[in-house]
Amino acid sequence: MLPITHYLFLSFALFFIGLAGVVIRHNLIVNLFSMDIILNAASINFVAFSRLYGDASGQVFAMLAVVMLALELLVALAIIAAVCSRWKCATPDEEKDLSSQLDY
């Protein structure tokens, strides 16, 4: 096994990326993705420490996190769809200037 610091650095990087997305972005779907990236970072930590200590509990936690991630994405997407059908949501396509047509 690689040193645990490798996994900690990866986990920290993913956590910060997710945190930046949650704090800075306004798009609800991107916010959801950011939260999932944070949970994914936690899962990597759980599995790495589980392997380090030879204890399967970390993997159980990570499995719970994966299941919760999937459920959260689906239910939150349903809520977003319901809200957007009730109130019209602004989309980037509504901007008429040429620069907004860039796909990136």
């Binding site: 990326i17 299941v67 901007e95």
Partner: protein, 175 residues
Amino acid sequence: MHGEITFYLLAGIAILGAVLAVTRRRAFYASLYFGLSLLASAGIFLQLHAPLLFVAQLVAMVCGTMGIILFAVEVSTINVALVKEHRWRPRVAAFAIGVVSLVLIVFTALRGLLLQPGENLTALLPHGALAAVPRAAELIKFFFSHELLPLLLILFILLIGGVGFRAVFQKRAQD
């Protein structure tokens, strides 16, 4: 050696996918890059000898959820920005991520100067700083009790409720 190369490759893909997912303006492209990041994470799970998690991540997240998300985003045109998002926001996100990544890279490069061979990061902490922290196995056993399930359920409901409340009240305030 092969393990290190595989780890660096997968970690790079995971971080790059996460960065691109967070900084894209269109939800469709963000979801594609998010799926890529999840795939790389699944590979890291496999490298950590957790094949069950690898399969779960692959099936539950990448195949199931991403398929539904792409279908919903593309077919139903749910490209959601509850308030019109300024163009500078993704750039601020990219800048913040870049700064922290730079700090991480510099710290990783200088780690060899800060630590003696065989030492880990805890050597940088004040002596005895971790004395009060119980062993990880005991901590996991403490949390993995019969109280875990209600706690998880409450957290899940709070999370979903938070998303819904934010969406509803933001739209009401805007209207």
